[in-house]
Subunit: 310 residues, 2 copies
């Protein structure tokens, strides 16, 4: 039966509408993947001169990089826009011309995460940067522009709307309950029917108030404020659960488009960082746009079960 559910922290509600008669496997994608544009891939090694200036890399000199960051060619924000200050970078997680993040070995994903951490660390040392959002678009329905897998980083002078709201609720919970709400979510949901995957440090759960079918929340069990706090071994564990989640999603639903993003601490703030993965399977229509609520026809418990392959 249908149920209105509130987000763990936000004043954001979802109507879980199982009565629509949809089952998880009704979301298997039928369309073939979009054809790649022909021509030179500016994200491939050897074409570094075709990108805007580099801002960071992992690996060797010249074309010997393993992951590489550079300015976005069409920045949304920039130090040069007085009314839209910020940084906008592209983060390429692999030198291989591969469209799917799920196809990369976990060691390569870990190198991508190392680049994320490096850029956040460096940008948080700069003036005028208060918060960075790293996000990935994969597939046409997720707003992709170039196929070679990559993410983007947008750093702003203040925390964006959703991060600011999470931070506020986080702070209020800490003051009242003397505990981290995300630590409690990890503890409680890690034992629930909503757990999809788990390893020594990370959990992937279908959140209680999932906005979309097969949404996942990936969070560390330890109280870590930022991806910059991860050591090499922990980055590999995050890469492992991320690859497992993406590979399972890809196989289960025939390569659906998705977005993921990281919510990390705004500079100097206490927080518990996490990733949110949103497959693009449902169209948010007039109700979602006008209400700020969501209708999700797949119960998170059913999504978690499908991820686990029970």
């Amino acid at each position: 039966m249908n149920e209105i559910r509130r987000d763990y922290l936000l004043d954001r509600y979802v109507i879980v509408a199982e009565n629509r008669g949809k089952r998880p496997y009704d979301y298997i994608q039928k369309a073939p993947p979009a054809k790649e544009k022909e021509g030179t891939c500016v994200f491939c090694p050897g074409n570094e001169h075709l990108t805007p200036p580099e801002t960071g890399r992992i690996g060797g000199k010249g074309s010997k990089w393993l992951a590489r960051a550079f300015y976005n060619k069409y920045p949304a924000v920039s130090p040069e826009f007085p009314k839209a200050l910020g940084r906008h970078e592209v983060l390429v997680e692999t030198p291989k011309h591969v469209a799917k993040m799920a196809a990369l070995p976990e060691e390569q994903i870990a190198i991508g995460l190392e680049l994320y951490a490096k850029r956040v660390h460096e940008l948080y040392a700069e003036k005028g940067v208060a918060c960075a959002l790293i996000f990935k678009n994969e597939g046409a329905a997720a707003g992709i522009s170039l196929t070679h897998t990559h993410s983007q980083l947008i750093a702003l002078a203040s925390a964006p709307r959703l991060v600011a709201e999470e931070l506020k609720q986080y702070g209020e919970y800490r003051r009242k309950e003397k505990a981290c709400p995300y630590c409690e979510v990890a503890e409680r949901e890690g034992k629930s029917a909503r757990k999809a995957f788990e390893n020594e440090e990370f959990l992937a759960i279908a959140p209680y108030a999932s906005r979309t079918p097969f949404e996942l929340l990936i969070l560390p069990k330890s109280h870590l404020a930022n991806i910059t706090e991860l050591g090499e071994e922990e980055r590999l564990l995050l890469a492992r659960i991320l690859k497992k989640s993406l590979a399972r999603l890809d196989k289960m639903l025939n390569g659906p488009a998705f977005n993921y993003y990281l919510h990390i601490q705004p500079k100097g703030k206490d927080f518990h960082f996490h990733m949110e993965l949103l497959p693009r399977l449902a169209i948010w229509a007039g109700f979602e746009l006008g209400s700020g609520m969501y209708i999700n026809p797949v119960a998170p418990e059913a999504a978690a079960k499908a991820y686990r392959g029970d």
Copy 2:
């Protein structure tokens, strides 16, 4: 040059990113409209027995109705869902089997608005209903299910997230400034480069912090809390500006998909009602989903100019 803009009321920000080199007419749709499914249209006169029970109508008996409301076949909320209480109805604005609202004469649109007002009036007299959201999806990209033009109404026991937030900001502004913020928006923006259309009672403006190319805000110049407060003549004026907006959008961009919705007073609250029209021209990707901010590549001033056809 790019610019971060704040919404009139909400703590919601948009990056107007004109540097992406897009011009308004780059959004002309190329795809032909989706083919209609064959078979009986359950929204057409003569098929009343195929819909769930009727909740209201304008016009005569039997199949002689001019506009008709009934329960949604797959309700998101219902008096029968203890954990998802509410009402979910379909509002068919015309007996004619027409896919585009813009194709209706303004007198017929006014009849549709009369049905909206009637259902809101009746539902607001019921227990357990605190706020109604009326919305329309038109076109595949906007989440349409059946082509015969129609809207939906979802009534809930409390104001949904975005309405609650507008109401809160509205109340704070009223207390501080001793004025209605929407009256001031109408006064100020009605004289600006963001005005698209105007008549004796209504304004259509491309809002300062438009989330998407060609967004429109339609609002009464008079301080009216709800669509139920409109008389026959004012409904015709709202129908006129709505038709003008939709017809111009349709012609200008070759029939793009869109959503619109009405933000009206939650029961017993002071407010200034308005409509928001969002063409589905841009994909909200990882940045929008993760930040709650928007990147809009068309300046509202350019959108308003294109609407006016200057």
